[in-house]
C-alpha cells in the first residue's frame, strides 16, 4: 500500500509543479510583484470566493495574464483596476469600493462603536446618578 501512496503523492507533486510552471512570470521582479498585488484585488469570475491568484480556473489564469501584460505595457495600477472593473463591475473587486451603495458596509464599524459607546455612557451615567452621594 505504501509504495502506491508514494507514487500517488509524487504524481500529484509533479502535476502541481507543471501547472505552476506553465504560467510565465514577468522578468522584472518589481513588475511581477505589482501584478501579484493586483491579482489579489480581483475576484475570480468562476470561483467567486477566491482571488484570481488563488484560483486554478482557466479564466482566472487569463486575467492574471492580462494583468501581467498591462503591467508590462506600463499601465498604472489605477488604469488596470479601472479596465477590469469596466468589464466586470464592482463585484470583481474583493474589497468593495467606498460609494453610495456601500456606505453602510464601510460605516457599520463606526456606527457599532457609536452604539456601543452610547450604551456604555448611558449605563455609566445611570449608575452614577443612582449612587448615593
Amino acid at each position: 500500500m505504501k509504495p502506491l501512496l508514494f507514487v500517488l503523492i509524487a504524481l500529484c507533486l509533479i502535476s502541481m509543479t507543471t501547472v505552476r510552471a506553465a504560467e510565465s512570470t514577468l522578468p522584472d521582479l518589481a513588475q511581477e510583484q505589482r501584478a501579484v498585488a493586483l491579482g489579489n484585488l480581483f475576484r475570480c469570475v468562476v470561483c467567486q470566493s477566491e482571488s484570481i491568484n488563488d484560483s486554478q480556473a482557466d479564466m482566472a489564469r487569463d486575467l492574471r495574464q492580462l494583468v501581467r501584460d498591462k503591467v508590462a505595457a506600463g499601465w498604472s495600477d489605477r488604469q488596470i483596476i479601472d479596465y477590469v472593473r469596466a468589464r466586470y463591475g464592482d463585484f470583481i473587486l474583493l474589497n468593495p469600493p467606498m460609494q453610495v451603495n456601500t456606505w453602510l458596509l464601510w460605516g457599520a464599524p463606526a456606527l457599532f462603536l457609536l452604539i456601543a459607546s452610547s450604551g456604555a455612557a448611558a449605563f455609566i451615567l445611570r449608575h452614577r446618578k443612582g449612587r448615593p452621594t
Binding site: 469570475v45 482557466d58 492580462l66 468589464r87 451603495n101 456606527l111 452604539i115 452610547s118 448611558a122 445611570r126
Partner: protein
C-alpha cells in the same frame, strides 16, 4: 426608573435599525446568481475578430451599426453549450435570426467537428482564440448570449445556456424590441 428606560433602549433600537437596513439591502440586492456587470444598456465592446474558415474576412461590430444582432459565445469543449446548441438550432430552423457565434478559446478542427455534428445555427462564426474578446465583453464563462440593438447597445445578456424557457420569456421579447 421608568423615565430612564427609553435611553437604555437607544442602542438596542440602533442595532435593530442597522440589522433591518443590512437585511433589507441583502435581500433586495442582486438576486441573480451572477453579480458581475451585466452591461445591459451599455455599448457593446468594439470587436474585430477573424471569421472561422475565411482567412481574410472579419466580424466587426462597427459594420453592424444600423442592424440589430445576437452574439453567442460558445465553445466545442463546453458541455452546457452542447445542450444550448439544440435549442439554438431549433430556434434558427424557425426564425433565422442574425446570430454571430464567437468561439471562445477553441481550435478550428474541434469547431468543425462540433458544427458538422450538431449543425451550424450561426450566420457567421468568429474566432476568439486567446479569449481576449471574452474578457472585453465581461464574459464569466461559456455560453453567454447578448442581444445588440441597431445603435450597438446591449439590450439583453444571458449568462449560461439558453433554454426553451429563456428563449421564449427573455430572448425573443428582447429581440422583438430591438428589431422593431
Amino acid at each position: 426608573m421608568m423615565k430612564r428606560l427609553p435611553t437604555s433602549f437607544i442602542p438596542l433600537l440602533l442595532c435593530a435599525g442597522l440589522f433591518a437596513a443590512l437585511a433589507f439591502s441583502l435581500l433586495r440586492g442582486p438576486s441573480e446568481q451572477n453579480k458581475f456587470a451585466q452591461h445591459v444598456g451599455e455599448k457593446a465592446s468594439p470587436t474585430t475578430l477573424p471569421l472561422l474558415d475565411m482567412a481574410d474576412t472579419h466580424f466587426d461590430t462597427a459594420e453592424w451599426i444600423g442592424r440589430p444582432y445576437i452574439i453567442n459565445f460558445f465553445a466545442s469543449w463546453c458541455v452546457p453549450c452542447q445542450a444550448e446548441h439544440e435549442v439554438l438550432s431549433d430556434l434558427q430552423n424557425h426564425l433565422h435570426l442574425p446570430v454571430i457565434g464567437i468561439a471562445y478559446k477553441d481550435r478550428p478542427e474541434s469547431l468543425h467537428r462540433f458544427l458538422n455534428k450538431a449543425g451550424n445555427p450561426y450566420l457567421a462564426v468568429a474566432d476568439d482564440k486567446d479569449g481576449h474578446t471574452g474578457i472585453d465583453w465581461g464574459l464569466t464563462g461559456v455560453p453567454e448570449t447578448f442581444v445588440i440593438d441597431a445603435h450597438g447597445v446591449i439590450r439583453y445578456h444571458l449568462v449560461g445556456p439558453m433554454t426553451e424557457e429563456t428563449v421564449m420569456d427573455d430572448l425573443l421579447p428582447a429581440w422583438k424590441e430591438v428589431s422593431q
